[in-house]
């Protein structure tokens, strides 16, 4: 979905996937138009806020490193699949058990961090192969140590 907002000559453009648009309440274009006409003030405020949020970037929430998605809450036995199906949790401890699932922002930060680590590791491995090929063993040893110091890639 593409959304263009012009305020005082300043153009803000948003491109949202279907899931994000639905999450932001912007899925049905027909009702969007009606909302704009029927509640012009409130709709403009909501849209301004949305534009500010999206242009300011993702929230700065960070999930603790090494946190895994559990498939079942260890306290009440509630399954993550049941949460995905119903939108409900089993007990207050499910919040920590399913923390990554519940906080997509933190998950995105982690995913970005994982992606960045994977790219770095691939670059180092490529450079290591090149160093070995040209028999530069001093450089290869440095690169090997750098690769070994990288966190293991998530599957």
């Amino acid at each position: 979905m593409f959304l263009t907002q012009i305020i005082n000559g300043q153009v803000s453009e948003l491109a949202l996937c279907e899931a994000c648009a639905r999450a932001k309440g912007l899925f049905d274009p027909q009702s969007l138009t009606f909302a704009e006409k029927f509640f012009p003030e409130e709709f403009k405020n909501r849209l301004d806020k949305l534009v500010r949020e999206l242009t300011a970037g993702e929230p700065s929430a960070k999930a603790p490193a090494g946190r895994n998605i559990l498939s079942r809450c260890p306290v009440c036995g509630f399954k993550i699949d049941d949460y995905r199906r119903t939108g409900h949790l089993g007990c207050p401890d499910c919040y920590s058990a399913f923390a990554r699932e519940l906080d997509p922002a933190a998950e995105a930060v982690e995913a970005a961090s994982d992606e960045s680590a994977a790219i770095t590791r691939a670059r180092l491995e490529r450079e290591l192969q090149q160093a070995i090929a040209r028999e530069d063993y001093e450089r290869a040893a440095i690169l090997r140590d750098q690769i070994n110091s990288q966190p293991p890639a998530h599957s």
């Binding site: 027909q30 909302a35 509640f39």
Partner: protein
């Protein structure tokens, strides 16, 4: 307190024309809390729900005014009684479907009631006339303080008060507003309005049921937990939407009234004719007709000897009383209900002198 005594208490809602032109007739603030060591009610066993109730109920009983309240575990209430409480908004649809280990606590003379093991362990609703969210929030704040002295609630720094639905975690507060929207309903605009409201994180549903049923043109508007950070921001945004919706409803009413085809006047006249002449009356017919009489009163089409404001309240209470009676009587399969309802409607109009204004008679 017995159930019958509870029902004899007058409705606490009086449509307040001074502030909202007869559109808003009440507001509700909902507060939810959970105990930290128990599964949420939807995922708990009968024993766990009983243990939660054993912890919470004695604490509620000690709050001033609640010792003599109406206490009931859900299996003790018949389905008719549940429907009656739903009609009076003294129970939620979610609670009405609950069974063992789930309790309601309703005092007779207070505008607050509790549900234990509804969707959350403890749910409190405070209701007020008009758009009085501030006093509702103050009441809940006092209750929260009293409860917190004896109970600890599931809370985290990051999420606030933890709830079974993660998007509702935070303050644990939600706002509801009860609206009479005959203008938008008669103009067939409610579907569009519903979709438009969703874009503003506000939802609307019919007052009398969860289904697509606009009977009586009464609706419940409620805030969907969304990006708002605090209850103040949520309240501000919600009030903006309510005031705007009220303005739109009034605009549509004026437009319908001014139409040269006299459709509105015709609909109100037909509703009046039905109430004064029928011998059998369904509850839907009664609700719709009373709604149109309220609209006719507000538009100056029907004039009452008792005064407009008093009659708006009387019409509203008559419709709700009939709905409550219906909920209780339907359970017994009473075949004379439609006849008695028609008689009650004729008696009501006979007991309240009125006339149609000359311009529209």
């Amino acid at each position: 307190m017995k159930f019958d005594t509870l029902l004899r208490a007058p409705h606490l809602w009086n449509p307040d024309r001074n502030t909202t032109d007869g559109v808003v007739f009440g507001s509700i603030v909902r507060m939810v809390r959970n105990l930290p060591d128990f599964p949420f009610p939807g995922w708990s066993t009968e024993d766990t729900r009983a243990a939660v109730a054993t912890r919470i109920l004695p604490v509620i009983k000690e709050i001033r005014g609640f010792k003599t309240a109406f206490y009931a575990e859900m299996p003790e209430l018949s389905y008719g009684q549940r429907r009656a409480l739903l009609t009076r908004k003294q129970m939620t649809p979610c609670m009405a479907a609950r069974q063992d280990g789930c309790h309601v606590v309703i005092p007779q003379k207070k505008n607050v009631f509790f549900m234990v093991n509804e969707e959350e362990h403890l749910v409190a609703h405070v209701f007020n006339n008009g758009l009085e969210f501030d006093s509702g929030l103050d009441t809940l704040s006092e209750l929260d303080e009293l409860l917190s002295e004896r109970l600890s609630f599931a809370y985290s720094e990051k999420n606030g008060y933890l709830t079974s639905i993660p998007s509702e975690a935070g303050d644990g507060l939600q706002l509801y507003c009860l609206l009479h929207l005959p203008g938008l309903t008669c103009a067939n605009m409610m579907n569009q309005v519903t979709k438009a409201l969703e874009k503003l994180h506000v939802s609307i549903s019919p007052y009398f049921s969860d289904a697509q049923d606009d009977t009586g043109h009464l609706f419940v508007l409620f805030s969907i937990p969304g990006p708002e950070g605090s209850i103040d921001e949520l309240q501000e945004n919600f009030l903006d939407v309510v005031h705007h919706l009220v303005r739109r409803e009034l605009q549509v009413r004026r437009k319908l009234h001014a139409e040269p085809g006299l459709h509105l006047q015709d609909a109100i006249g037909r509703a009046y004719g039905l109430l004064t002449n029928c011998h059998r009356l369904s509850i839907k017919e009664l609700r719709d007709a009373i709604s149109l009489l309220r609209l006719g009163t507000l538009q100056g089409i029907i004039c009452w000897a008792e005064g407009e404001r008093d009659m708006l309240v009387a019409l509203h209470h008559f419709a709700l009383d009939q709905a409550t009676l219906t909920a209780l009587a339907e359970e017994n399969g009473d075949p004379s209900l439609c006849i008695r309802r028609a008689t009650a409607a004729r008696d009501f109009l006979n007991n309240h002198p009125h006339h149609f204004s000359e311009t529209t008679a």
